[in-house]
């Protein structure tokens, strides 16, 4: 039988820090923008309550780990994310609102995961995180949570125009044995039932999201893959151009909705 005890000092500090807030003030969130609605508005009140409780929201177990990773020295350069970006980085305050973003050094659209791995390689001399790994999920949840409450606001102008067009085309194209497009469910049938599930608009403002079905958080690329499999279409790879472009389009579709990361959804 192994017994490991966490230091009293650390957990007391955590408890004091956590006890400072009574639960996330959802009053400041915009769950609707124009005619667009967050998946939060389709969830039951019990599910909403899980999301709104910063202690009880299970995705915060990953967020805590993300904070550790942000501050952890990793790689040959002997740096952590915090070394360059600071412990409480101003950059983080809107990172979730503007990704996927164009990286002019690369001439490419990048999702946050890709940007993280590029910085790890170039700046830290550290190994990349796998897309759906515990580390990547933890770090992206921690980072995107810093933007919570801010409105989604990706750029679709200038250099990202062709990527946006590709993402929009993907969203509208029918695929798979069931010959369905994203739009068929999430535009045409949001609010309707598909068998025993209630369809939402398929917004991305809560990602990475803790899905009750997964019993853990997952990235939006994981969700894209699941959706593609469900219409019997071959899923694309995590981090594929198709999915990064689609992610941009879906983020634009949710413009004005508050970042909710980490959200709780079915």
């Amino acid at each position: 039988m192994r017994i490991k005890t966490q230091g009293i000092l650390f957990v007391a500090a955590v408890a004091v820090g956590l006890s400072g807030f009574a639960g996330f003030a959802s009053a400041q969130m915009k769950y609707k923008a124009g005619d667009r609605r967050s998946g939060y508005t389709y969830a039951t009140k019990e599910t909403q309550a899980i999301q709104d409780d910063d202690l009880g929201n299970p995705a915060f177990l990953w967020l805590d780990e993300g904070e550790v990773l942000w501050n952890k020295v990793d790689g040959k350069a002997g740096k952590s994310c915090a070394t360059c970006h600071g412990v409480e980085s101003a950059m983080l305050s809107d990172v979730a609102t503007r990704y996927p973003a164009y990286n002019p050094d690369l001439g490419k659209l990048q999702s946050l995961e890709q940007r993280i791995n590029r910085e790890r390689k170039e700046m830290m001399g550290a190994k990349p995180y796998k897309w759906e790994s515990k580390q990547m999920l933890s770090l992206t949840i921690y980072m995107k949570n810093q933007s919570r409450g801010k409105p989604m606001n990706v750029s679709i102008d200038g250099p990202v125009v062709p990527f946006f067009a590709a993402g929009k085309a993907f969203y509208e194209k029918k695929r798979g044995q069931l010959d369905m497009s994203c739009a068929n469910c999430h535009n045409d049938n949001a609010g309707n039932m598909i068998r025993a599930n209630l369809l939402t608009e398929g917004q991305s403002n809560g990602f990475p999201t803790y899905r009750l079905k997964w019993q853990k958080p997952g990235s939006i690329h994981r969700r894209f893959r699941g959706c593609n499999k469900q219409v019997r279409a071959k899923p694309y790879a995590y981090g594929s151009d198709e999915y990064v472009n689609l992610e941009l389009y879906v983020a634009w579709k949710g413009r004005g909705l508050s970042v909710e990361t980490p959200a709780i959804r079915n």
């Binding site: 969830a43 039951t44 009140k45 019990e46 599910t47 309550a49 899980i50 044995q177 069931l178 469910c185 039932m193 598909i194 068998r195 025993a196 599930n197 369809l199 899905r211 009750l212 079905k213 997964w214 019993q215 699941g226 959706c227 499999k229 469900q230 019997r232 079915n266």
Partner: protein, 163 residues
């Protein structure tokens, strides 16, 4: 432990109809395939037996327990549940334990919560798993030996496109 749960096989292929992927409903948690397959689960212990193991044959009264559960569970694998038992919670009159059962789960014994006068309130919140539409039964054991029972139905839908 649960050797008796180790013997049954079940066919995932048979579970899904329209969505047809063969992986959707069981890929995520794999716990609760469509209810059509419930007959293939390991031996279902009757809830009456599970209750008897906890409280014997003693009679129960109704009342004193307020239980909070959704009418329809968003997902049967995470169903928020809370209860409060009406009691002064003094040294001479307090709730000793509350037993929670789910009458259609493979193991209907979900949890037992044991209180003391230092609890202040016999009130908890947690999240439980419900295999399918069924009743959640709470039995409160008082310090004077009396027992109270409440039964609450919860609808659980299974089988969709996303989960």
């Amino acid at each position: 432990m649960s050797e008796k749960f180790m013997t049954q096989k079940y066919r995932r292929r048979d579970v899904l109809a329209m969505a047809g992927t063969g992986v959707v409903a069981v890929a995520g948690i794999g716990l609760f395939p469509g209810s059509a397959q419930a007959k293939h689960f390991p031996r279902h212990i009757p809830v009456a037996q599970a209750i008897k193991e906890k409280i014997g044959d003693k009679p129960t009264k109704s009342g004193r327990i307020t239980i909070e559960l959704p009418q329809i569970a968003e997902n049967g694998n995470t169903v928020p549940m809370g209860f409060e038992v009406d009691s002064p919670m003094t040294e001479s009159d307090y709730v000793k334990a509350v037993h929670i059962f789910a009458d259609q789960n493979p193991n209907p014994d979900v949890a037992t919560y044991r209180f003391t006068p230092q609890s202040g309130k016999a009130k908890i919140s947690t999240r439980m798993r419900l295999l399918k539409t069924q009743n959640v039964i709470a039995i409160a054991e008082m310090s004077d030996g009396s027992l109270y029972l409440t039964k609450t139905p919860v609808k659980v839908t299974i089988g969709g496109c996303g989960g």
